[in-house]
Symmetry: C2
Subunit: 403 residues, 2 copies
DNA sequence: GGATTTAGTATGGGAAAGCAACAAACGCAA
DNA sequence: TTGCGTTTGTTGCTTTCCCATACTAAATCC
């Protein structure tokens, strides 16, 4: 057990506090930081010196214009280094490199048989990571760490995947494998959780204490950011928001969790594809079959989104219906969490603009008036990349913890 | 803003830590505390001295028997004083007095037209509180504070009720009224939240970091205890777990929130009464009409519970069905929160033993295997009194915070 | 160009936890 | 009975870290 606070943890806490403030609200002067934190000016000076010493922040010019002595502005050191992130999807590997502020400097998206061949996928991923590291080296930046986000449950202490039903993977010691091969500090996190951290550090939830990240794709996962930190539950499994039984008619689709009536079966990618298929069977006035033929492509979300872009009624209606289902589930979550914000991201969110109106309307119908008025709903600025950026954010979050 | 940590907050943190450990795991020696907290022995001595000085804990004998010098055992000072708690129900006022460990020394339960006449109800409550205080004085104990729990949303800073739809009350400055009249330190909290704190301090969730208190009665409210503290959401409205839309057939009951299909309409008190009424219309083989006639009583939960005690099929089946509905909602919550525990209490829980088997069975059907295996479900040891005890716990929690 | 204002630094002090040595209080065994 | 080992708790000193105050620095304003 180690729960008490000593002088060192006090220092660490304040160091981290100042680092996070500068990260999220730069540029800031020492005087501003003192006012914001209620710490003494001299204490702030000492903390800032240490952060500069560590290379995390730097002075970046003066703030002329006002009366009095101009402030020396502090901001995150843009030369501190790069961070590499990797996301495992069901049928792709996504990777990116950013600086500490989340500015993307390199990215890659490769199709992969992730759910098929584990060994080959890891080998393929290692190549991508090595490419990212080489690229960083070429730009004369050191790599501060590697973040990995994956569907399924994760042991963040060990840095291993516990079980990902979608991938059919179990007990994969990612941290061990990747740190051995790359000598990097490796972090592993669930995709929705990672995306939530990404949204908090780099995205649309920067100063938000209580928000939910809804990661929509093959399923619907949730990253619960509560009271200023990610909530993981007893074993790190929290956030399985997609499996609330909202309907239980036997007619409904079997969820991959084995039950019927799970919320996500009404609002995930496949539910939309199904809606389209059902519509195409009875009605042919849609550009979708044509698009599929032209592009020799399967019926997937990007394709349906193209159809919607062309004004296709069936595509638009399907997104609308899925949006309603999404909104119904989110209404319940809003009542439960009284969040300040709900952010929607993940693969399905490429069609977000077509779903959002229905989502908002349904929420406003079902959520309790006093609570829903407090919550804003928006799409993640990272869209389908939310989990890659999130993987990077996990690393940056550790840097800012200054442990 | 005041977010940073200084020496004083360090001391407070450690003082509170030691106080809570002693409160929850007494008796403990200084040496044990040092081992548990990783604080230095001398630091623990200093902290213990201060807690003794403040009258919160005391030395209580030695731990002979082992090898080496016997330890001096520390425990909560039983003479520190009493705490008074009050719960507003829809049609009753409940009050109790306990010591700091939650041992009840006095209690009172009065019928009242709470939802009817606000002024009269408050006057009636004041009388009860004064009686409790007089009783404490008679026992030569000082009263350390007054806790008030109420349905609806609460402003805990101001100590006022914001809005309680069930009571038709709005903007009631409880803290102001009661502290003026009694000179006590007054705390106000939502009933489900209070009950959760009570369960954590005195009940079945003592060392549990992540659990949900389900307060079942007129509605179904939730107290969310996450990461070792109560989660309140952006505005303190979190925990409205009863209003997740789980079904939306137009046939269903209108919820008092204005929607149809809310989970709580399938599992609250009224849903059970309705089930019974429907059954009695088509089938007469029940002792319920007879009980109602004998006792000249309305059809309410205690009466239906009596019928169940007599083996009445209709009563048992109705509880069973409501238990299934309850379980369906709880399954979703388990998936969302990955809690260590779910505790069910509140007025409806007098019939808990008849609902629990169905609840557990439904949960085990609908919740995800890996997650549900981690969660135990149990009834609150305080049953229908959970919110009164909770009101007291809110006061004790403040005492243990040592602010 | 001096007054004013705001920013940041230097110095000494105080609070809190750590460390190490020591005293206290028991069991045990010779 | 006495000495030893063992564990507990205290004491005095040290270290760490933040705070208060005074001071220097560097701009604007008049």
């Amino acid at each position: 057990m180690k729960i008490a606070a000593d002088q060192t943890s006090l220092r660490t806490f304040n160091l981290s506090l100042v680092a996070r403030l500068i990260h999220s609200q730069a540029p800031l002067s020492r005087a501003q930081l003192a006012a914001m934190t209620n710490l003494n000016k001299s204490t702030i000076s000492s903390l800032a010196d240490e952060l500069i010493e560590r290379g995390l922040i730097c002075e970046t010019g003066n703030n002329f214009g006002g009366t009095g002595r101009p402030a020396i502005l502090l901001e995150v050191n843009p030369n501190a280094g790069f961070v590499v992130g990797v996301e495992f999807g069901v049928d792709f590997i996504a990777a990116a490199t950013t600086d500490i502020l989340g500015n993307v400097v390199w990215r890659k998206h490769e199709a992969a048989r992730v759910a098929g061949d584990q060994e080959q996928t890891i080998a393929q991923t290692l190549e991508i990571v090595k490419e990212a590291v080489a690229e960083s080296r070429r730009k004369k930046r050191k790599v501060l760490g590697l973040g990995i986000s994956t569907p399924g449950t994760v042991d963040i202490q060990k840095g291993s995947l516990v079980f990902a039903p979608n991938l059919h993977w179990r007990d994969v010691p990612f941290a061990q494998i990747f740190s051995e091969q790359t000598k990097l500090k490796v972090f592993v996190e669930n995709d929705a959780n990672a995306a939530a951290i990404g949204e908090r550090l780099f995205g649309s939830a920067r100063r938000v204490k209580d928000f939910l990240f809804v990661f929509a794709g093959v399923g619907i996962g949730g990253g619960l950011f509560l009271d200023g930190k990610l909530y993981r539950g007893k074993n790190g499994y929290a956030g399985e928001i997609g499996h609330s039984p909202i309907m239980s008619e036997p007619s409904q689709n079997l969820c991959h969790c084995g039950n019927r009536g799970c919320w996500e079966t009404y609002a995930n990618q496949y539910s939309i594809i199904q809606r389209i298929q059902a519509r195409l069977e009875v009605k042919r006035a849609s550009v979708i079959p044509q698009l599929m033929a032209e592009q020799n492509a399967a019926l997937d979300i990007p394709l349906i989104k193209q159809a919607a872009d062309l004004g296709d009624r069936e595509a638009l209606d399907s997104f609308h219906e899925a949006g309603q289902a999404m909104g119904q589930g989110l209404a319940g979550l809003i009542n439960i969490f009284n969040p300040e914000k709900i952010v929607i991201g993940g693969p399905l969110s490429v069609a977000g603009e077509y779903m959002l109106p229905a989502i908002k309307k349904t929420i406003s119908q079902y959520a309790m008036p006093g609570i829903k008025a407090q919550a804003t709903i928006n799409l993640s600025p990272f869209g389908a990349d939310a989990a890659v950026i999130g993987a990077i954010a996990v690393v940056v979050d550790d840097l800012l913890a200054l442990k």
